[in-house]
């Protein structure tokens, strides 16, 4: 209705466009402020840098086909140390792993896979959780009760064991493993968002929007949702570090896709472990370090975001 009116009155349309631009500029200013505040904190800045570096590696790795950089060498399959390790392979910074694959390149490819799947789990979980939490918190009653009981149940199951059970039943390729993790990953987000919604919806501006005749859907998405997202961003950042570890761990304990070399960090550690951890320590050390550095990075970023996004500390 209102959009029809606007299209017939050019001067009004112009002012709406100006309003939208102003809104967009305000939002951009907020993002810029967030980044500036983050960069002011050395640890958070380091976290941001590490996270961006991993994303960069992942993007770069998707442009390089496996067959070009993961060359197997069955004539000489046993792991060789990096050149600086002592009696290592000249020119190789990270050594090689079984079967004669350059470990640096394998990690390069592996970061892409690990990052992709853990981001899928965390972002997917966050998205489902936000929607469920929003509706449960806003509408309340039966839906709310059902959600809270569901999250209670999922909380009472040790995550890894349950993921093992689900992945076991569903199959053992990356996609089903991902689904198994996703089933478990949204309830905490739903709980987080619900708690936020419960306090945000008591605000005067929600009442004002309702008095102005805004629909429930509009209030939920325009007025309530944006004010609940800060802790979600923090949680997403922290969770990325957890999920990437769980993903690698599941692959390590026996969910590696069958058939050939899989460039995934948990699988890389497993290959090294199979060959003998004590004889070829670098095959275990470097893939694990790649996990640790990423986890430290997103943890630092998450901690920084928590401070920076807190409106009480913001200005």
């Amino acid at each position: 209705m209102s959009s029809e009116v606007v299209t017939h009155r050019p001067e009004l349309r112009k002012s709406v466009a100006a309003e939208l631009r102003r809104g967009l500029r305000r939002r951009l200013d907020e993002y810029r402020l967030t980044v500036r505040l983050l960069l002011q904190r050395p640890l958070a800045a380091a976290g941001l840098l590490i996270t961006l570096a991993y994303v960069g590696i992942a993007v770069a790795a998707s442009f390089l086909p496996d067959r070009d950089i993961l060359q197997t060498d069955f004539a000489n399959p046993f792991p060789e140390a990096p050149w600086w390790w002592g009696a290592g392979r000249p020119g190789s910074w990270f050594g090689t792993t079984y079967p004669g694959i350059d470990l640096g390149m394998a990690i390069f490819k592996a970061i892409r896979i690990d990052l992709y799947y853990s981001a899928l789990v965390v972002l997917g979980g966050a998205l489902i959780g936000i929607l469920v939490g929003l509706v449960a918190g806003y509408k309340g009653s039966f839906f709310d009760e059902a959600l809270m009981r569901t999250t209670d149940v999922t909380y009472s199951i040790p995550f890894l064991v349950f993921a093992i059970a689900v992945a076991f039943v569903l199959g053992r390729d990356f996609t089903t493993l991902n689904l198994a993790l996703l089933i478990l990953w949204w309830p905490p987000y739903a709980r987080l968002v619900r708690a936020q919604v419960l306090s945000v919806k008591e605000n005067k501006f929600v009442e004002a929007a309702r008095a102005a005749g805004a629909s429930d859907t509009r209030i939920m998405f325009r007025h309530v949702l944006p004010n609940t997202l800060a802790p979600v961003f923090v949680q997403v950042s922290l969770d990325l570090g957890v999920v990437i570890q769980i993903f690698a761990a599941l692959i390590f304990v026996g969910f590696a896709p069958q058939g050939g070399f899989v460039p995934e960090l948990g699988a890389l550690i497993f290959y090294g472990y199979q060959q003998g951890a004590a004889s070829y320590p670098w095959t275990i050390l470097f893939p694990g370090l790649a996990l640790v550095v990423f986890a430290v990075g997103v943890n630092l970023l998450g901690d920084g975001l928590r401070d920076v996004l807190d409106p009480r500390l913001r200005r």
Binding site: I164, G254, Y273, A278
Partner: protein
């Protein structure tokens, strides 16, 4: 009296949780094809044709009933102690028999790690809070921080590598030196063993006065316990530190300072005692969390507990075992949470029961 009421209410709340957990394992168990479910009932050498055997097994397991009815049968068989059969290279037989064997080592490991984490965590957290924003605090926070970021199975492997290199006498896998248990009257079996009277090897060795086994078992628990401790230390440190920092700013602490009480007394009696309350919860939850982390650590250290049983089952394609371990872990977690809640309610007079 009010505590009793609280416990009763908490116990009643267990019912929907347990129903939910069993519903999940039930759905998972029915999500696999029927011939996989009945596979162990099929005898290839039997004169009966395969189809008839499958049909008989389907009837036996009530797989031809509607799903809700099947769920009721499932629950009733769980309550009757019929948890199915496990067939891994560690143990073949009834799941309930296997649990008796695999549960004690896991609990032993979890208790060792919880103790270690508490013993290290509380003093370190105290130092961190007292020397806030100075070097000890920074060091402690780095320790806590990396604890979250290090995959436990990887840490376990690194510790093994280091032990092989630098402390060759430190055992890197197993619960005891192979063969040391043979001829001991109080232990049955060798790889997966059953010790008397409590099934807990370390405790039983002490009870039977067998110092050689006791020393050997304690020596073997060092590395896995250390690995797990590192993983959960961060949580305890963070909790103790923030609790103490909060408490330090309270009015009664200022009063204590102005009364001229000695620093040690203020730290121990006024600050820490109040800061430790939330730590009770964390220690309880850690114990539960350890049971999750234990899966990976047991796998690397060949520690024959529930976790290793579960990982072996993945490779053996043993669904009954996977579901049984899921249920056991969930039941255990639920119980630990219950106990923690009760202890917390008991300790903190402000909690309205």
């Amino acid at each position: 009296m009010r505590l009793a009421l609280f416990i009763v209410r908490r116990l009643l709340l267990l019912i929907p949780t347990l129903l939910g957990v069993t519903l999940i394992t039930f759905v998972l168990s029915r999500a696999v094809p029927v011939d996989q479910l009945v596979a162990i009932y099929i005898n290839p050498h039997s004169p009966l044709p395969r189809d008839q055997q499958i049909a008989a097994a389907v009837r036996l397991l009530h797989l031809d009933e509607p799903l809700p009815v099947q769920y009721v049968y499932y629950l009733s068989s769980l309550l009757h102690g019929d948890w199915g059969f496990t067939n891994t290279n560690l143990f073949a037989g009834a799941v309930t028999d296997a649990v008796v064997l695999f549960f004690p080592p896991t609990v032993e490991l979890a208790i060792a790690a919880t103790l270690l984490a508490t013993i290290i965590g509380i003093p370190l957290g105290t130092i961190s809070a007292i020397r806030k924003d100075r070097l000890p605090d920074h060091v402690t926070r780095v320790v806590a921080f990396t604890g979250y970021s290090v995959p436990l199975f990887w840490l376990a492997l690194l510790l093994q590598i280091l032990a092989v290199q630098y402390i060759p006498s430190l055992p890197i896998q197993g619960q005891v030196t192979p063969g040391i248990l043979s001829g001991r009257s109080w232990v049955v079996g060798s790889g997966v063993f059953d010790s008397q009277p409590t099934h807990f090897l370390i405790l039983d060795a002490a009870l039977n006065g067998d110092w050689e086994v006791l020393r050997d078992a304690l020596w073997h628990i060092v590395l896995p316990a250390l690995t797990l401790t590192y993983g959960v230390l961060g949580g305890i440190l963070r909790m103790v530190r923030s609790g103490m920092v909060d408490a330090m700013n309270q009015e009664y602490v200022k009063t204590a300072w102005s009364k001229g009480l000695p620093e040690g007394v203020i730290i121990r009696k006024h600050i820490r005692r109040n800061a430790l309350l939330p730590v009770t919860t964390v220690v309880g939850l850690l114990f539960a969390g350890l049971l999750g982390g234990v899966v990976l650590v047991e796998d690397v250290f060949i520690w024959n507990g529930i976790g290793r049983w579960a990982t072996v089952a993945i490779i053996s394609h043993d669904l009954a075992t996977i579901l049984a371990t899921t249920l056991i872990f969930a039941l255990f977690l639920v119980l630990v949470n219950l106990v923690v809640d009760i202890i917390y309610a008991y300790l903190d007079p402000r909690i309205t029961l």
